[in-house]
Symmetry: C3
Subunit: 218 residues, 3 copies
């Protein structure tokens, strides 16, 4: 993977930590063993980029060529596992709410960073004129790891079910593709990433949901 | 994707509409939100071709290079969503039976078209002599989208469970590969597609099922 | 696929038979039909190698170019289906325990063979210096088919849930990668494969399990 500005590396690491944490928490709640927690955590963090690279023909995918994100995810997952193992009541403690609130912000940062770098990867591979492909790959990089996590955990993917999550990624991706014709790549990247974060924060704060075709039964 | 005869384009669009509709109905019945309905509908319609292209090394897959089928699927899904949203009792009305009967025929047409164009793609890529690969890719193009739909919806894939569905695709694919040595490509394509439709119609009419190893418990 | 020593071909066929058998038994217990049993059995046997080849860019995957393992898996599955169909009480008989004990040994042999040949494929493709990639592809070749089987059967993947299974593959893969710098390829291949088998046998005998983060509730 390439980065226009090195601040994006830091932002991507923050996103990797948040995604790995979300995968590990799903695995811990399902009482999977250490390996299950590692696999689910790391897959959530780097699975989206792997799917993007396979579709783009970047094989072997970048995560294998430069495993820095895999290492970041692995360390996150291991730390979480050890903390929960040493103090099992922590999952019911009042700290968990603050932790999840912080992780939700980190997760929005990660979704934003992965969405724009996903598009960037498509553009650098020479597919900048294929707007549908670029947008799809941005969103896939953002949400693909979570989809793999949910499929492996036997759950209907979170993004299909509720909250404005993939929608935030789609909005940011469309914004990036349209802005790129008018302003510099770096500026449009940053504006689009901020848009993703803004939508996610507002959606969480005001409990936004997309409509369903039929009324929900309780 | 390439087409020998342009009538196949019309037939593929019919199949795309039917497949998108089947994915959208699964999502609507599971009360997924608008995005979930779109993702499941479009994945069902174009997912088989995407898997085929990845296995064949046609990357990025054709659906991204020429998103006409994605658009057809998207419009279908959106129309369905709006109709159900505006008139929720339609799902229990007597129209639904006629609608599902028509969609079942469309679905058979789609299965037939996708099976033969899947093989065609393999042949055009230079793998015509690899009969197992050709047959597999034909069947994958036909049933792969439905398998992705069921995995994402958290169900055991439909094709593994009942009805002569994948079997019809397999029969058509084998027919196409064998006939191709004896008659012209177009003729064997049409005969094989008709065979798929015929088997599906007979299987639905006479409730054909493949045997299971043990007796079904009720 | 390439083999350093032809004994590995025999060992791989043993593994293919065991993996196909495990997939077919899952399908038979879920009362899937003949096609479901074939798909699940064959996918379990060759799915790991297919995923490895896609990630490595070996497309179309080797299993399609030389379908000898697919044939071995198909014959195994068909034989099992016929035996269970003809004598349904066999699933509750005392023979089934001996059969499953034997298949457990075969499965360990398969896991060992697939792990080392998976690494070998990565090395032959020129990625020998990418240790993380090599180890990942070895383990993926070993356990990927089982993961696909479980996802298609709607179960949380076995390797995430219990028993020292993927861990044995990881230990063997790490051993192979480290030994390869010191002794000949063939010797390190055999030692690593034996390590996988040894760990699996000990784990089964002494009911080894990896730790979970929280205490299991019964």
């Amino acid at each position: 993977m390439e980065f226009h500005v090195s601040i994006f590396f830091i932002i991507e690491v923050i996103g990797t930590v948040a995604f790995a944490s979300s995968g590990a928490m799903v695995a811990i709640k399902q009482q999977l063993d250490l390996l299950g927690v590692v696999v689910l955590g790391v897959t959530t963090a780097v699975g989206g980029g792997m799917l993007r690279d396979i579709i783009l023909g970047n094989v072997p995918p970048g995560l294998f060529m430069n495993p820095v994100y895999v290492m970041a995810a692995f360390i996150t997952v291991l730390a979480l596992f050890i903390v929960v193992r040493l103090n099992q009541r922590i999952l019911e403690s009042r700290y968990i709410a603050s932790y999840e609130k912080m992780m939700n912000i980190f997760d929005a940062v990660g979704l934003a960073a992965f969405t724009v770098t996903g598009i960037d990867t498509a553009v650098l591979a020479g597919y900048g004129d294929y707007h549908f492909l670029s947008v799809f790959l941005g969103v896939l990089t953002g949400v693909g790891g979570g989809v793999l996590r949910d499929i492996m955990a036997g759950q209907t993917p979170y993004i299909l079910r509720k909250h404005v999550y993939a929608s935030a990624s789609i909005a940011g991706a469309l914004c990036y593709v349209f802005l790129a014709d008018w302003i510099t790549g770096d500026a449009s990247m940053i504006i689009s990433a901020l848009l993703v974060i803004l939508i996610r924060m507002l959606a969480t704060r005001y409990c936004w949901n997309l409509p369903t075709a039929t009324k929900k039964q309780p």
